[in-house]
Subunit: 219 residues, 2 copies
């Protein structure tokens, strides 16, 4: 079976949306993510259903089939491996990799991706802390929480980000927060839910908008 670049982008979008929601993914949600009109999405959903990549019931949302899920996860695997390549080997910073990886993820060659995986020494996570699916489409989920849910007086390790937009990543760079950074929760302000945190020698206060986009786990 052969999938076009466009089909792959739809499958990936649907996969990511289905991670957040339990029920079927809605046409509008896909349209927003793909940046297309709902009518275009409807057309594509019919096409993908025809190819047995998802189940589509008019007016109810869609759900990926196992075949569709595997296809989506394979694209995500490629995306994340390329991101590792760009950061580890080509001196890209973590806020520069996404757009290029969006292109590279569609390159079709099984050997290429297997060799790349080996060349990178079989990484388990991408530069943003997201897990890299294995060859069989398995994803190892870690028990991370968002920083905003952290407990007072505890120490956490930064393991990832929820928002991986260039703007947010640059904010983290500016304050020297990276994956692996140790964060000690010094104070919790109930009024606006801001946190005062010690990172190495520095102490800083972060708003809820920031803390709800950083993943941590207890050190």
């Amino acid at each position: 079976m052969t999938t076009t670049l466009t089909e792959e982008n739809y499958l990936k979008a649907i996969y990511h949306l289905s991670q957040k929601k339990e029920s079927g993914v809605s046409t509008n949600a896909i349209a927003q993510k793909i940046d297309a009109k709902a009518s275009s999405v409807t057309d594509m959903l019919k096409k993908l259903a025809e190819k047995n990549l998802l189940t589509y019931i008019k007016y109810k949302g869609v759900t990926l089939t196992e075949k569709g899920r595997l296809t989506a996860v394979d694209i995500i695997r490629k995306h994340r491996l390329w991101e590792v390549f760009l950061v580890d080997k080509l001196n890209f910073s973590w806020d520069e990799v996404h757009d290029v990886a969006e292109q590279l993820e569609h390159i079709k060659s099984q050997k290429l991706i297997n060799e790349l995986d080996a060349f990178l020494d079989f990484p388990t996570h991408d530069p943003h802390g997201d897990p890299i699916p294995d060859k069989e489409g398995q994803i190892k989920r870690t028990n991370k929480i968002v920083l905003s849910k952290a407990e007072l007086n505890e120490t956490y390790t930064c393991v990832g980000v929820l928002d991986s937009s260039s703007e947010f990543l640059k904010y983290l760079d500016k304050h020297d927060i990276k994956i692996g950074s140790e964060l000690w929760i010094k104070e919790k302000e109930e009024f606006d839910q801001s946190l005062t945190i010690q990172i190495r020698d520095k102490v800083m206060t972060m708003s809820k908008a920031i803390t709800s986009n950083i993943y941590v786990k207890k050190s």
Copy 2:
């Protein structure tokens, strides 16, 4: 300016064809190379002329403009750098790289290609001995000849191949002929223009079909 994948493939085909011929490149020649019908080619030529990538005069062939030439050469630069990457870093053999490079050459990122170039230590030639254009679109031409024009009793170094099809490259692999191999011309058979050649300890006879596809220069 932005070029589509299809446009890039046309420009590349026209560039390569124009290397062989002095005059304008014909519609039919392009059609054959691109594997499309002449009518499709005519349509595309109008489009590329509109974008000032080539000059098109009905019924006369086409010629690339400087802008078109630079675009074509940039694609070729990317193609050949990726081929080096695949062979040097990902354990591809020289007969496996072309199809993947055909995809990778269309990835759009100036930083990506500059960093790749540096990562590969600024290679000057691809795995088939073809020169890699520099950032400014300059190509260093070497004074190579085809093996079939070699002189009796002289020693040559293999510097490239004319036919870089997988079949031909596998033939060369089988006989342990690679770029850098030293070839001594032991005998020239006038009747069928076959050559008897010594490669290291081995002696073998090659037909004109073979020798006219190997580039050499005097050692």
